[in-house]
Amino acid sequence: MASEGKKRIWEEYQKEIADDHYFYVRSCIRQTFFPGAETVFLNILRKDLGKDVFEDARHTTCTGIGYHSDIVPLDTIMTVIARHFALMTENGYKNFVPSCVTSFGLYTEVLETWKHFPEIENKIREFLWKATKREFNKPENLAHASDIIYKNREKIREKSKFLLQNSITGKPLNVVEHIGCHYAKMFPSSGVGGAEFPHVLSGMIESWGGEVIDYPERRHCCGFGFRNYLIKANRGYSVSNSKKKFESMQPYKPDFIVANCPGCSMFLDRWQYTIAEMEGITYGENGMGIPVLTFEEMAGLVLGYSPWELGLQMHQISVEPLLDKMGIPYREEEKYLGKNGRSLGQPQKPQFLIV
């Protein structure tokens, strides 16, 4: 596979990513299901890279989950987003960094809408004033959290304690990268590398010693659409999409999957359990699944953060095989102990999936 073609595309789709002074907004799903991920992102930015990242405790969900389920109308979500911009402005920041890819897609969409239809922007300013007496400036720079890590990947490489390689043989790990649909499929120029061959995760993986796998269903959606799974009867659609991806990537024997969207990470992790219990099929080695990491967790492991502090015990698919390959030390007995050494309880073991 020739990479000159890809390099040309990556050169074309370069976007502006701010250097410092970020206003960070959290993700509903990521906070809930991968609690360690956002903490480690903040730690990496503040401690390892010395950046200024600000969070305002008064920010809410972007309501994307409601908007995408036809519960929250467009005007409402634009006003909620405007409120976040107001919080950013009030705190003196200009660079907006959402943690969730769906949020990122929404912020991009809303800013684009306001660019083409300034009368809508004026209307929303009115709504925000009437509702909260707040005013806002639009952010000068909008970048997703994975863009920030991408921009600093070489610095992270310099500080790395572990690489994405087999620690014994030195062979690069086979990594499947999965980009959330809302990252670049809507506005290709808002994603590093465009929509067809995004570079944001490939760049990280290559810098940190891994090898990226291109498999036929790489671009396929994982099936995480709020509309697809909020109602139980629709979940079959979600699982089927993830299954398509797993079947396509399995021949390449990936060592792990990394995703920048919190929803994708959750689904690719959890649906392996569902498919195993429903059909008895697993996609990893020895009847286990393929470990799934969020990009923050991947960066955290590379920088030497403890796996259990990163919250990897909350993953459905056990990450221990991956940790063993990378040579990361961990203590299995500490897996389900909380911060003060108390037991968090043990999850039930699945019937087919080996954990």
Binding site: K232, A233, N234, G236, Y237, V239, S240, K243, E277, M278
Partner: protein, 112 residues
């Protein structure tokens, strides 16, 4: 077995790598003009059965070519062999012979 409340759905795309194309081979061996169809739809436009059922000779031909033959037995029983499709076909496809061989193939399942 746990009741999940949802099922894994089979993909509905036509997979030309895994579909069984033996019926298409059988028909083209016996009626060479089977492969001359360009999908113009003249046959379906004039078809008697198509006026009152959802029978569609153009689609039947194409589905067989793609190996999608589920439910074909039921569909083909709607054709009354009136021959209007043959009169109108601009490519000279012998449609009645094709229908005849489809019925033959379906009745000799496994041995064509």
């Amino acid at each position: 077995m746990k009741d999940w409340g949802y099922k894994i759905i089979a993909a509905r795309q036509i997979d030309l790598d895994s579909n069984d194309l033996s019926m298409a081979d059988y028909i083209s061996r016996h009626e060479i003009s089977f492969k001359w169809c360009i999908g113009c739809g003249s046959c379906s436009a004039t078809c008697t059965a198509a006026q009152f059922t959802d029978f569609n000779p153009r689609k039947v031909n194409l589905l067989i070519q793609r190996g999608e033959t589920d439910g074909l037995k039921n569909e083909i029983s709607k054709c009354m062999m009136c021959g209007k499709c043959q009169i109108i076909c601009p490519k000279g496809v012998n449609t009645r012979n094709i229908i005849h061989h489809i019925k033959r193939a379906l009745s000799n399942v496994g041995s064509f």
